[in-house]
Subunit: 455 residues, 2 copies
Amino acid sequence: MEKVLAAIESGREGFISELKDLLRIPSVSSDPAHAGDVRVAAEWVRKHLADMGLEAEIHETPGHPLVFAQKCDAPGKPTILFYGHFDVQPVEPLDEWTSPPFEPVERDGNIVGRGTADDKGQAFTHVKAVEAWLKGAGCLPVNVKILLEGEEEIGSPNLPAWLAEHRDLAAADVVVISDTSQFGPGLPSVCTGLRGIAAFEIHVETSSTDLHSGSFGGAVPNAIDVLTRIVSGLHTPDGGVAVAGFYDDVKAPSDEEMASWKALPFSEKQFLQSAGAQTLGGEPDRHTLERIWARPTLEIVGIGGGFQGPGHKGIVPAKAWAKCSMRLVPGMVPAKVIEAVKRHIEAASPASVKVKVEGGHGTPPVSIPTDSRWVAASVAALEKGFGAKPVFIREGGSISIVTRFVEDYGMPCLLLGFGLPDDHIHGPNEKFSLSDFMAGIRTSAYLMGELGREV
Amino acid sequence: MEKVLAAIESGREGFISELKDLLRIPSVSSDPAHAGDVRVAAEWVRKHLADMGLEAEIHETPGHPLVFAQKCDAPGKPTILFYGHFDVQPVEPLDEWTSPPFEPVERDGNIVGRGTADDKGQAFTHVKAVEAWLKGAGCLPVNVKILLEGEEEIGSPNLPAWLAEHRDLAAADVVVISDTSQFGPGLPSVCTGLRGIAAFEIHVETSSTDLHSGSFGGAVPNAIDVLTRIVSGLHTPDGGVAVAGFYDDVKAPSDEEMASWKALPFSEKQFLQSAGAQTLGGEPDRHTLERIWARPTLEIVGIGGGFQGPGHKGIVPAKAWAKCSMRLVPGMVPAKVIEAVKRHIEAASPASVKVKVEGGHGTPPVSIPTDSRWVAASVAALEKGFGAKPVFIREGGSISIVTRFVEDYGMPCLLLGFGLPDDHIHGPNEKFSLSDFMAGIRTSAYLMGELGREV
């Protein structure tokens, strides 16, 4: 272990430099224009893993390719599947980045750029931990499989089918994922639950073309007016979701779990500061951690319609749209929620106006039990890697494939987040602390060591 | 007069070809990127008028240039000032044009392209009538001044100052403007009123940056949610404007005027068809012509915020905006209305969220008396030019400079619209009937003849 840790410490500059190479590839999976870049990232990852001495292959899917690698020469030892992704979120609004999103830079102890925390940087910690074992100890203490995909940010549409086809190849005793975050600086965390997600779009059309507001204004419906009435009616005045039945299936956290959350060093002030907001929002009279971790939400993530250019234009707009994204909590079923939303919007739509709701991808929420040997090992590894006792938290985000591992294949998952809540993932100026990057590599190395010692 | 009419008939192909040259210049005044094109259009117009034998000059303004031309060698005869504009509205949404907006084509008896009706094509009718008099009769029956500007579509911000400085140069007995439309095909019209306009933008900011909807969704305000609540609250559920005091100063049309409107061959079905809409909107229980001509309106002309790209993105958006445009009717004062809107939005804005309202340009509404010799002459000219008795109508649109001519300089204005209500001005596939183009040229020639005969 000493030699492994030494390999980690001496490898620092190289690790960061390699990570920067990967970060420079603009692998935005949701944008068809970047499909080629997602493939370039896949090739980069494959070659990197192969150069480290793993059997590494590109696997094609109907969408973006994924990379599967393994080194399984520790008979009798457990098999760990490290899962992560090399695709990233879009970078808009570009003008709010202080440095170009795909030109990673080091600033204030962080590395800044799209994908630093979500998830290239975090996934890379496990890759580098494997490398450190190979360099420092000459072999791995466990059997290692690495699955890095290129479609996580679009809901992993093709990974379930790939897993079904490659059940034996991907089989493992435990799945380790670092795509969540610590509770705060110096508070390494084991995540015990994820919110699910379900997205939809609303399209309103009131006339076949934009109309002159002088000739028609005041006598015909306005697509943006219709849309804003529908959208504003999705929430109640007090901040809850107005869709009938939305909260029906919500499974509340246990009293014990709620108590443990309330004991966490959570500061609303700091939370607002990291959000850059003046005030809290959403459902009233609930602890903020409950609202993020255990309550569903419906966000309007984008809206557009009418004249978008500079200056003014005298029109009655014909079309308007909104993109919405719901976060779901244990108990809720995406398809059922989308149906309820569709019914709500249909009832809220004026007759004789075309209103269309298109349902997008859905990911069920997930819960992770805390009483396993895997969680025990990860707690020990985090404590050594970060030098601090980890806490149990949930995460408000969604990782669709975790549900598959847990529900479809009965593979226990460890969600070890190395990022921080203010890493601005999905937003401008995404960052990842370089000391947490290194602590993550140490944690992963310790985890392999812990699991290799057991039998 | 015979020779003038002959010159018009024989000139047809040439007129259309010249108009196409002017239409090809993308002189979008609201877009700084097209400032050079507005100037190219000004130069084109100046040269064209000079080649016809008028003294024609470019006049610089702090914004886009204008063109002033004259031929005043009919002593003792009245002086007509023809006013029009060579700037055009933006062309977005581009993908809804069936042919490129700046590549004019003839289709089904129309010329199709941006500016065909509003206003290059209509303004050109007077230019060609002047040319026909010069070619056919060798001289003009009246003194003619032509003022064509490049900032009408942005509210003519610099023309009032230019007029104040060039009071004598622009002085005339009557101003003739063709920037409105006929009531319908074969129903040439004298317009007796225009709505005013006042524009504003709403900007909402809830956080300093877009936030991950997993980490923050449900616990912070959403800029689009805040904006859509404000915007949807601008109207009452029944379609009226909800701003307190909005209707206070509205001067209702006389019973006689209302009766004349109700006698017009107005078809709601046709109106809806030309709008491409399924249903009427706006204030209930009023005649549609009253709603367009004599009632104020508040339209949301554009909205944007959050993620605008393809696919989905899990964010809580930080910023959202809406552009609004109000049409005002006689009695209303733009600045007063904007203040009322600002108060309304301030009251509707949640505390601790940044909401900013920026007032744009305002143009007061205008009324034109029908009992003048100028109106009498125009009625005669329209009847001969179009071969049909004209009707008195109003227009729901706004021409800011008309207010100046009438109120500041006491110059009577004749608003003779040659276009049609379904010309899609300001929208995609703007068109202008070629037979109305020719009838407009004849009307303008007759009008000059009529006014030249009187003394």
